[in-house]
C-alpha cells in the first residue's frame, strides 16, 4: 500500500483554492467591465499607474520557479545559488530604460512583435515570433504542470484536478477582464507573496539562531558556504543573461510597457526589480535553515512548504500554499494574456485578417485565450515530467534576442542582417553549449555570440533607420 502524508489536508487545500479562485474570478469579472475596447482588453487602457505597474512587474517575475527553484538553488549551489537567482532582477532593472524608450518610440504599440516587424522587417519578425511563442508556450505549460504537481504534493489533490482547476481559474478571469484583471489581481497577489515570505523568514529566525544555522552548514554542508564554487559562479552569469533575455524579448513585459502611463513605465520596472531582488535570498535562506530544523529534504522543490509547516504549523502551510497559488496565478494569467496578444496582433491581424475591426479583434483575443488554455491543459494532462529542462533549453534562444532588441531601440545603424544573423548564431551556439557543456553556460554563450554578430554587422552594414517608422499609427495617418 502506498502511503503519502501531505503537508496540509486536502480539505484545507480546497478551501484555500476555492476562496482565492472566487476572489480572482470575481475581480476579473468586476474589472472586465472596463475592458470594452481592444486597448482596454489588451492593454488595460494604456494608463496604468505606478502602484499597479510596480506590483504587476514584481508579481509576474515571481513565478513558481522563484518559490520552488530558489530554495533548490540554495540547497545545491549554496550562497552563490541564492545570489545567482537574485541576479535575474537585473532583467527588470535593465529593462527600465528600454521601457521609457519603447513608450516614446511606439506610443500606440501593442506587442514586442510589432517592434521587430517595424524595425527589422518580416523575416526577422517570423524568426522572433517562433522564439517568442515557443518560449511563452513552454513557460505556460511549465506553470500549469507546476500547479498540478504542487497541489498534489502539498494538499494531496490529484494532479489532473489541481492542474485543471488552476488553469481554469486563470483562463476564466483573464477571459473576463483581459489585462485589467491580470494587473489588478497581480497587485493583491504580490502583497500576499511578499507578506507570506516575510512571515516564514521571521518565524525561522525566531526558532533557530543564525549562528546555529551557519555552524550546522559549516559542519554538514561546507560547500554551500564556499565563496569559490566555479559552477555556481557560472550560474550567476547564466541566470543573469537568461533573465535579461526573458524580459527583453517577451511580450509579457512589452505589453506592460504599453499598458502603463508614460511616466510610470521606467519607474515601475526599476522599483519592481528592486522589490524582487531580495525574494530569492529570503526563499533560499528558508531552505538553508532546513538542516538546523531537523527537516529531512527528499524533494528540494518542496523545502518551502516543509519548513513553513515545521515552524508555523498548519497555519504556516496555508500561508505558503497561498504564496504558491498566487505565484502561479500571477504568471499564468500574464502568459495567457500576452501570448494571446502576440497571436491576435502579430498572426491573426497581420497575417490572416488585416481589415479586422477593434470589436472583431477583441472577440478573437478572448477566443485565443480560451484555445491557449485548452491546448495548455491538453499538453499538461499526461504529466510528462519536468519541463524545467525545456525552459532552460529556451535560455539561449531568448538570450540571442537581447542584442537585436537593445541595439534596435538605441542604434540607428543596427540592421536586419545583424538581427537575423545574431538570433540564429546565438541560438545555435548556445544550444551546442547546452548539450556539450551544460545548461549553466548556454545563455551566456548565446548572448555573447549574438552580441559579437550584431555589433559586427552594425559596423559592416550600417543602416539609417527612421525612428518615426516605429510609430505605426501616426505613420499610417501621415501616409
Amino acid at each position: 500500500m502506498e502511503h503519502q502524508s501531505y503537508i496540509i489536508s486536502p480539505e484545507d487545500g480546497w478551501i484555500v483554492i476555492a476562496g482565492l479562485s472566487v476572489l480572482w474570478i470575481g475581480l476579473g469579472y468586476y474589472w472586465g467591465r472596463r475592458a470594452k475596447s481592444m486597448d482596454g482588453y489588451m492593454l488595460a487602457g494604456r494608463r496604468v499607474g505606478l502602484a499597479l505597474g510596480t506590483a504587476t512587474v514584481m508579481a509576474t517575475w515571481v513565478t513558481s520557479n522563484t518559490t520552488m527553484l530558489a530554495p533548490q538553488f540554495a540547497l545545491e549551489l549554496g550562497i552563490w545559488g541564492m545570489i545567482a537567482y537574485s541576479t535575474a532582477a537585473l532583467g527588470l532593472l535593465l529593462f527600465a530604460p528600454l521601457a521609457k524608450r519603447i513608450r516614446a518610440l511606439m506610443p500606440m504599440g501593442y506587442t514586442s512583435g510589432d517592434f521587430i516587424r517595424l524595425r527589422y522587417g518580416k523575416p526577422a519578425w517570423i524568426l522572433f515570433l517562433l522564439i517568442s511563442i515557443f518560449y511563452g508556450f513552454v513557460w505556460l505549460i511549465s506553470m500549469g504542470m507546476a500547479g498540478g504537481i504542487l497541489m498534489n504534493a502539498i494538499a494531496g489533490i490529484p494532479y489532473e484536478i489541481g492542474m485543471s482547476v488552476i488553469l481554469f481559474v486563470c483562463v476564466a478571469y483573464t477571459l473576463f477582464g483581459g489585462l485589467y484583471a491580470v494587473i489588478g489581481t497581480d497587485y493583491i497577489q504580490s502583497l500576499l507573496i511578499l507578506i507570506g515570505i516575510v512571515i516564514i523568514g521571521v518565524a525561522v529566525f525566531q526558532i533557530v539562531d543564525f549562528n546555529e544555522i551557519y555552524s550546522d552548514l559549516r559542519t554538514d554542508k561546507p560547500m554551500l558556504l564556499s565563496a569559490i564554487l566555479p559552477a555556481s559562479i557560472m550560474a550567476v552569469f547564466n541566470n543573469l543573461l537568461f533573465g535579461v533575455g526573458e524580459v527583453f524579448h517577451s511580450n509579457v513585459w512589452w505589453s506592460r510597457v504599453f499598458a502603463m502611463s508614460k511616466k510610470a513605465g521606467r519607474r515601475a520596472y526599476l522599483l519592481g526589480g528592486l522589490i524582487w531582488l531580495p525574494v530569492p535570498v529570503a526563499a533560499g535562506f528558508i531552505a538553508l535553515a532546513s538542516g538546523s530544523l531537523g527537516i529531512n529534504i527528499t524533494r528540494p522543490d518542496m523545502v518551502g512548504p516543509l519548513v513553513a509547516a515545521n515552524v508555523l504549523g498548519e497555519a504556516g502551510t496555508i500561508v505558503v500554499f497561498m504564496v504558491f497559488f498566487c505565484s502561479l496565478a500571477s504568471s499564468l494569467d500574464s502568459l495567457l494574456a500576452s501570448t494571446s496578444d502576440l497571436i491576435t496582433q502579430d498572426i491573426y491581424k497581420k497575417m490572416i485578417k488585416p481589415d479586422a475591426s477593434d470589436g472583431h479583434l477583441r472577440k478573437a483575443s478572448s477566443r485565443i485565450v480560451l484555445v491557449l488554455g485548452f491546448v495548455a491543459w491538453l499538453v499538461c494532462l499526461p504529466r510528462i515530467g519536468t519541463l524545467a529542462d525545456v525552459l532552460f533549453f529556451a535560455g539561449p534562444l531568448v538570450a540571442s534576442t537581447i542584442w537585436p532588441i537593445a541595439t534596435g531601440l538605441f542604434w540607428r545603424k543596427a540592421n536586419t542582417r545583424g538581427a537575423i544573423a545574431g538570433m540564429i548564431a546565438g541560438s545555435v551556439t548556445g544550444m551546442i553549449f547546452y548539450f556539450t557543456v551544460g545548461w549553466y553556460s548556454a545563455s551566456l554563450v548565446g548572448a555573447a555570440t549574438s552580441m559579437i554578430v550584431v555589433v559586427l554587422f552594425t559596423h559592416l552594414y550600417p543602416a539609417k533607420f527612421d525612428w518615426h517608422k516605429l510609430d505605426e499609427k501616426t505613420a499610417l495617418t501621415r501616409a
Partner: protein, 40 residues
C-alpha cells in the same frame, strides 16, 4: 574559503527588511495613485 557568517546574516536580514518595506511601499503608492486618480 567561506562566506563570512556576518556577511550572510546581514544579507538575509536586509532581504527580509527590504521585502517588508516593499509591502508598505506598494500600499502607499496605491493610496497616492488613488488620491491623484491615476490608478488605471
Amino acid at each position: 574559503m567561506h562566506f563570512p557568517e556576518l556577511f550572510v546574516e546581514i544579507m538575509i536580514m536586509i532581504s527580509l527588511g527590504l521585502i517588508s518595506a516593499s509591502v508598505i511601499v506598494l500600499i502607499v503608492l496605491l493610496i497616492v495613485d488613488f488620491v491623484k486618480q491615476r490608478v488605471w
